[in-house]
Amino acid sequence: MKIKRALRVWQRHFTVYRKLYMSSIALNFVEPVLYLVAFGFGLGGYISEVEGKPYINFIAPGIIASSSMFATIYECTYGTYVRIFFQKTFDAILATPVNIDDLIAGELIWGATKSMLYGIIIVGTISAFRLVDSPLVVLVIPVLFLSGLIFAQISLVCVALVPGVDSLNYFYTLFLSPMFLLSGIFFPLDNLPAFVGKVAWFTPLYHLTNVCRAFAAGSPGNALEGAVWIIVVVILLAPFPFRLMKRRIIR
């Protein structure tokens, strides 16, 4: 794998993205803000405080995490699937000096970049509405890149394994939605049966949410466990997208 060639793939995605970014940002921006407004103000009206904060302040940092996750997962599941099987973009790129490992690395780095990009938008938005306590919230940005790598890795593994594009729905319903609901974004997991917390501990969104919340509260010490978890998992998952995608593409 050569990082320079991987960045050529990244550059292709960025060129495409720049053409469409207004509509794309708008779409990815509207949804998290809707969550914030609907839950923060709607549900928040009935809830006095969670963990000593107004409800909207409690959920705001978690929206950074979920927004970045959705951006990457859609890009690297549906987006990558279309590029491979419908648009034959991979076939075209693989006829150039770019090899399959470079191409997969490029997809992963691009996926991680999108996580960072969409996370930054939410960091900006909730800061503008004064929903964070500390400027340390900007420290989530590098972590978003790493957690973005995990979301991209999981997505590519999924693309490599599904028999068809419709099967991606299983991934969304059986993995993405439960992870989203049990990430601790909308309610602390303490009141649920203990095993729920144990299951959540194995999901990246749970840790990313903790990291976002810790930095937003100005207590970076609480971000440590999550950050370490994320780094370790990026490394553990590293070989799988390469191995499985190779098997899928080069028949």
């Binding site: 050569k2 320079k4 060639r5 050529r8 550059q11 292709r12 060129t15 495409v16 053409k19 648009q87 034959k88 973009t89 076939d91 075209a92 790129i93 693989l94 006829a95 150039t96 000096p97 770019v98 090899n99 080069i250 028949r251």
Partner: protein, 243 residues
């Protein structure tokens, strides 16, 4: 000088032998054709030569390099016009060429004027900014051909370059290929059109069920077996080319 050599090449897909021990060598400046019906193994050989598929057995060397060891060095000097439309629908016509050049580390300063020139040569100047979806089938083939020579390759692989084209567009592509041949490029093409092979190829390999039956010039084949290439194919394999 030999540009491409294959020795006892074998390719299996899940127990099915798509290419069954073929050997050939192609010299610089030659136009070499693989002729045979669908499923004969032509496309598989092309894909092995442009380092997409690894061979199951045997050895393939291109420009002196082993396809399994130095794919990037080979691909840097190779152009590929695939059978399928693999144009990037997320990019405009000219961007398709410029972004493609980037994969070869070509600077924009060089690729933009080159892309304009290539588009002019295939009559797509008016469509420069157009979306890929607005192009007709013939225009897409022309753009694929233009894209395959962005990096000024020494070897060009053309997988059924004119399949599905109307007679006029086919003539256009043939003229372009003859130009490339005059420039000294080595061309490697697959086809199931006799006329195409007769007009363009210096030598053809006639393939059937993963094997090469004969390699010779179209002229020699027709002299020896009589009639056109179609008849030659029928004599040699006992089957029609369209089967």
């Amino acid at each position: 000088m030999e540009i491409i050599t294959a020795k006892d090449l074998i390719k299996d897909y899940n127990g099915f032998r798509a290419v069954d021990g073929v050997s050939f060598s192609i010299v610089k400046g030659e136009c070499f054709g693989f002729l045979g019906p669908n499923g004969a193994g032509k496309t598989t050989i092309m894909r092995i030569i442009h380092c997409f598929l690894p061979p199951t057995g045997g050895e393939v060397r291109v420009l002196g390099y082993d396809v399994t060891k130095e794919p990037s060095l080979i691909k840097a000097r190779m152009g590929v016009m695939p059978q399928d439309d693999s144009l990037d629908p997320d990019l405009s016509v000219i961007q398709n060429l410029v972004v493609y050049g980037r994969y070869f580390d070509m600077p924009k300063k060089k690729t933009v004027p080159l892309a304009r020139e290539l588009l002019a040569s295939v009559g797509l100047t008016d469509k420069m900014k157009a979306n890929i979806r607005e192009l007709s089938g013939g225009m897409k083939r022309s753009l694929l051909l233009a894209r395959s020579i962005v990096n000024d390759p020494d070897v060009i692989i053309l997988d059924e370059p004119t399949t599905g084209l109307d007679p006029h567009s086919r003539q256009m592509v043939w003229k372009r290929l003859e130009d490339l041949k005059r420039q000294g490029k080595t061309l490697l093409l697959t086809t199931h059109y006799m006329e195409e092979a007769e007009r363009l190829c210096d030598r053809v390999a006639i393939m059937d069920r993963g094997k090469i039956i004969v390699i010779a010039s179209p002229r020699d084949l027709m002299d020896e077996h009589g009639g056109n290439l179609e008849a030659v194919y029928l004599t040699l394999t006992g089957r029609k080319l369209e089967d």
